[in-house]
């Protein structure tokens, strides 16, 4: 560790041991060359996007709701930063519900039976719940939720393979719940660590793709009145464009308030519907500003807004992380150093002080 040796000296004995892993065998040039050719072929086959878009925009557009997204972003331009954050989160939830409840035809289908699954299944889910409750931060919680969602997908596939459609409802609902929980955690993470949030979104995209594949497997077993509805849901999940005339079947299958909004949005794909939803869910002052906005500078403002929000969140949330980490460090140090914490005042500085003391001890 050349650059920071003076801060964290490692004793020579440990360096000597760790250094044993340093030499690496010569790489096989043929395999390396094959890998490079594979990379070049894959690179050749892709289309590069012209301008990287903000995370939230990519999420929404990826779900086929581009028009509605621009409608919302247009109106967000005039809002204060605080209300923009609130609106972003609220809109994220609208999108999530839109997509997730779009799959409720599956739930309706599965609800025809009420026979529970295997006797040990509750044990499995209880264990998962325990693991989740032990996860200490948003990243771990999000990863666990995605892992559980993946497991539900496996179970759904098995249930389909075994013809046990009576148990599908719980599995599909659980899948939806895990994705919702993961998205909520990712909302938190995206403020602190946009790169990690992007990684997790990649996983969600993959899960959605698998989910739509799984729904596709079911198609053959579904009676015709429901089949077109499930097909429509698959298209939504895959982000394909919507037909304008797909309203009736969907509305019939929904009942709660969120579901109603969902159907309106997706089927019509117009700005008006999304506006209604936004207003209904948000504070009064959000509505006031909405109508005055224009299309001008939409993209620029969008980028600026999202970046700013990210930065603001970063500082606060970073401190939270540090607290956790350094608390542990303190525990280690207490035995040695009684005056470690005498000059604590603000979050960030506290942490720095603790680290300095730690390093002194090392020396």
């Amino acid at each position: 560790m050349k650059e920071n040796n003076q801060q964290e000296p490692i004793e020579p004995r440990l360096v000597e041991i760790l250094d044993q892993l340093r030499p690496v065998h010569k790489r096989d040039p043929i395999v390396a060359e094959q890998n490079q050719q594979k990379f070049l072929a894959e690179l050749e086959s892709i289309n590069l996007p012209s301008v990287p878009k903000p995370l939230f925009e990519r999420l929404v557009i990826g779900m086929g709701l581009k028009q509605g997204y621009y409608s919302i972003m247009e109106k967000m331009n005039m809002l204060t930063k605080k209300s923009r954050i609130a609106l972003t989160i609220a809109t994220a939830f609208i999108v999530v519900f839109t997509v997730l409840f779009g799959g409720s035809a599956m739930t309706v289908l599965a609800a025809q039976s009420a026979i529970p699954g295997d006797a040990l299944y509750p044990v499995k889910t209880t264990l998962e719940q325990t693991r989740f409750s032990l996860a200490r931060n948003a990243a771990l919680r999000a990863e666990l939720q995605l892992e559980f969602a993946d497991l539900r997908l496996d179970e759904i596939e098995l249930l389909i393979a075994q013809g046990r459609t009576q148990n599908l409802q719980a599995a599909t609902q659980a899948f939806e719940a895990h994705i919702q929980n993961a998205l909520a955690e990712i909302e938190v993470i995206s403020g602190v660590n946009p790169a990690l949030a992007a990684d997790l979104m990649e996983e969600i995209t993959g899960l959605f793709s698998d989910f739509s594949d799984t729904l596709g497997l079911l198609l053959n077993d579904i009676p015709e009145p429901l089949r077109s509805e499930v097909e429509r849901n698959i298209r939504i999940i895959r982000g394909e464009s919507e037909d304008d005339n797909g309203n009736e079947g969907a509305v019939d299958n929904q009942n709660g308030n969120l579901n109603d909004n969902t159907n309106d949005d997706l089927d019509d794909n117009t700005n008006d519907d999304l506006d209604d939803n936004t207003n209904a869910d948000l504070d009064d002052n959000t509505n006031d500003d909405l109508d005055d906005n224009t299309n001008d500078d939409l993209d620029d403002n969008t980028n600026d807004d999202l970046d700013d929000n990210t930065n603001d969140d970063l500082d606060d949330n970073t401190n939270d992380d540090l607290d956790e980490v350094n608390d542990n460090t303190n525990d280690d140090m207490d035995d040695v150093n009684d005056n470690t914490n005498t000059n604590q005042n603000a979050n960030t500085n506290d942490n720095s002080n603790e680290n300095d003391n730690r390093n002194d001890n090392d020396d």
């Binding site: 920071n4 690496v24 790489r27 490079q36 996007p49 990287p52 990519r58």
Partner: protein, 178 residues
Amino acid sequence: MRTDTVLQKFPRQFSKQDLVEIYELLNPSLYRYAVRLLGDPDLAEDCVAETFSRFLKMIQRGFAPKDNVRAYLYRIAHNWITDFYRHRVPEVDLEAGELKESSENPAMTASHNMDRERVRKALLNLPKEQRQVIMLRFYEEWPHEETAAALGKTVEATRALQYRALNGLRSMLNAVEK
């Protein structure tokens, strides 16, 4: 290497030529990184190939890394390695040498190989982030700032992770100074 302009390019609108440069620049060091932790050249090649494949997919979807391409790629690789061990080596035994070095160097003595396995297994027994800090700080010789970027943490948090990782390694490798 840290001054390579393609890695500092902003805004992130990579051309295909940029991506080729990134591959040529980083794939050797990513391979070394992977083979140290995996102990198997074939697996390490898989890891590198999959890392760049995921990278291309993310770029294609518009998820270009915001600040640090190198840190981003190492994070993908580290996740791949973690996933690999999560599925295959639930419990690592520090005493026995299960993993093999598939392209043995005859010059290396058997005891040396065993020592390498001990170190590798001690590293694998560390929590994921502590392991990542040691790999990047000690073997890759990254500064704290870039290590912190790869972990998505602050520099202070990274230092604390390193401190705990070294403590863990000391006790696992019986390397406490008398």
